[in-house]
């Protein structure tokens, strides 16, 4: 991820989901990076400084909600303000996900994902 600014950093522990999402977004011309664990999530965001974070809610070691709280509390305003698209189970859109800029329930249609990311990046 070093050396070139990412458009999107995806934090998702399911490699097959990450691969499919990566392919979909890459085809739109966006540069995508993937971090596969809750642990080290906030550090990966700080290092990559992407334009958008796609964050899974249920992650091992550190949940998406905790990473989002870390992000919003980051002393660097540019990092704290990075928009976040939260991937979550349907119905699991309560207080924990409320601080995300957008929420997409799994399983999702690829077109919905594309449209949402396009709106958030533009």
């Amino acid at each position: 991820m070093a050396g070139r600014t990412l458009d999107i950093l995806m934090i998702e522990d399911e490699p097959n989901i990450a691969e499919a999402v990566n392919f979909i977004l890459m085809r739109e011309g966006w540069q995508v990076g993937v971090h596969g664990d809750g642990a080290g999530g906030i550090e990966a965001i700080r290092a990559a400084r992407p334009r958008l974070v796609i964050l899974d809610m249920m992650l091992p070691n550190r949940s998406g909600a905790e990473i989002l709280a870390d992000l919003r509390a980051d002393p660097d305003a540019a990092v704290a303000g990075i928009p976040v698209l939260m991937l979550t189970a349907r119905g699991h859109t309560g207080e924990e996900a409320a601080r995300a800029d957008a929420v997409l329930a799994k399983p999702f249609a690829n077109d919905d994902l594309r449209d949402m990311v396009r709106r958030m990046l533009n």
Binding site: I17, A20, P107, N110, L113
Partner: protein
């Protein structure tokens, strides 16, 4: 003690009467209940006490409810009627007068009383099943993990399948990966879905044991036999927990042998004084009392929690409200003890059903990794029947867990109950 002795006399006589009424031989009943004929003979002649586990086994062999065998049919039926009156009183109706009429109702209308008892028992069973199922659906870690796996596999399959059907000119190396992913995810979905169906099927079995902790609890209640002989231990996790428990039990038995403890307990009923007389740590004495259950401690139960409050040992006692693993009542004195290590806390507690228990809670702290290591806390609560004369003593009103506790005004409530309140 005199009341307990009287109950034992009645119980032994009832067992004999029931066996004779079925025209069954003493040796056959004894064998079916897993005891020797000589021991059953002593019980029937009221020369040996009979514990709740054995009453339950004998009741099954003699084909009658355990409570009727233990308490007598009329007493048991009256107790059910009183409980039904207290719990089913509608609106603002005071249950007191209805409860008082229970003996007359039973005497004058035995058929209707029997019908009411049957209906109440059925309703009670269904309510317990509902609570257990609701509790399980909400907090069962296995269920939550399994559903998450299914959702992840479904998400991956949907996105990948859409790519394959909608995207044009997918490079061959990506095609290969997506096909492999589809194969992998569909297999994962299939296996996980089958496991989920098997798991949900087990819900239909009344009183089915699900979690490893509950398997171990049932195994201990059945006498903690060698793990390879137990029908209660099914999962690998439960087998490992039980084996570890047996090792610790053996170590503690060496530190405080059965004969030493039984002899001392016959002369001293206060566990703290008992510990002082035996020159042993109070927590060891409490665990050994709950394991051995010597005379005077026949129904002793024990709960042990770690510093996070998670229960790591549950040795149940009749009537004490234990919820499914994962959620408990914050008012259990066990948790107060965590804040006051090395101090014995004696509390009288009362369950929502009005049952009272004398509890003794004691916490310890240790640093197994040395002075630079973490401080580990552990608390345990010995659960005993109340002493005579405690009927009017103020008691801490506890419950099983907020979600399945009917107390509406509890100051420690952290979430609404799914039960009817008030």
């Amino acid at each position: 003690m005199s009341q307990r002795s009287a109950n034992h006399i009645l119980t032994g006589t009832r067992i004999r009467e029931r066996r004779l009424s079925l025209a069954r031989r003493q040796a056959d009943v004894a064998r079916a209940a897993g005891i020797s004929p000589a021991y059953l003979n002593l019980i029937e002649h009221n020369r040996r006490p009979v514990g709740e586990d054995l009453v339950a086994r004998l009741a099954e062999v003699l084909e009658m409810p355990a409570d009727e065998l233990a308490e007598g049919r009329e007493e048991a039926r009256l107790a059910v009627l009183r409980e039904a009156a207290a719990r089913l009183a509608e609106g603002d109706a005071e249950p007191g007068p209805i409860v008082a009429q229970a003996p007359e109702f039973l005497a004058r209308f035995p058929g209707w009383a029997g019908l009411l008892i049957t209906l109440f028992r059925r309703a009670d069973t269904l309510e317990r099943q509902l609570v257990a199922l609701s509790d399980r659906m909400r907090q069962d870690p296995y269920l939550l993990t399994t559903l998450h796996q299914i959702l992840s596999a479904a998400t991956s399959i949907r996105s990948t399948a859409s790519i394959l059907s909608e995207e044009r000119a997918v490079p061959p190396d990506w095609l290969d990966r997506f096909h492999a992913n589809l194969d992998q995810d569909s297999q994962r979905l299939s296996v996980t879905a089958q496991a989920l169906v098997a798991y949900l099927d087990s819900f239909e079995t009344e009183g089915a044991i699900i979690t490893p902790e509950e398997e171990v609890e049932a195994w201990m209640a059945a006498g903690a036999r060698p793990v390879e002989e137990s029908d209660d231990l099914v999962s690998d996790a439960a087998l490992a927990l039980a084996a570890d428990h047996l090792l610790r039990m053996a170590e503690e038995r060496r530190a405080l042998p059965d004969a030493t403890l039984a002899s001392a307990a016959a002369r001293e009923r206060d566990p703290m004084r008992l510990a002082a007389r035996l020159d042993r740590q109070p927590d060891l004495v409490m665990r050994r009392l709950a394991a051995l259950r010597p005379a005077g401690f026949e129904t002793a139960g024990l709960l042990v929690c770690d510093g996070s409050g998670a229960l790591i040992l549950r040795r149940s006692t009749p009537g004490f409200p234990l919820p499914r693993p994962g959620d408990t009542c914050p008012l259990w004195p066990l948790y107060q003890a965590l804040a006051m290590p090395q101090t014995a806390l004696s509390h009288l507690v009362e369950t929502p059903e009005g049952r009272r228990f004398r509890t003794l809670s004691y916490a310890t702290r240790s640093q197994p990794d040395g002075t630079d290591g973490p401080v580990l806390s552990r608390a345990q609560m010995l659960i005993l029947p109340p002493d005579a004369g405690m009927a009017e003593t103020p008691a801490t009103k506890i419950g099983p867990a907020c979600r399945i506790c009917p107390r509406p005004d509890c100051p420690a409530r952290r979430e609404p109950s799914i039960l009817a309140m008030g």
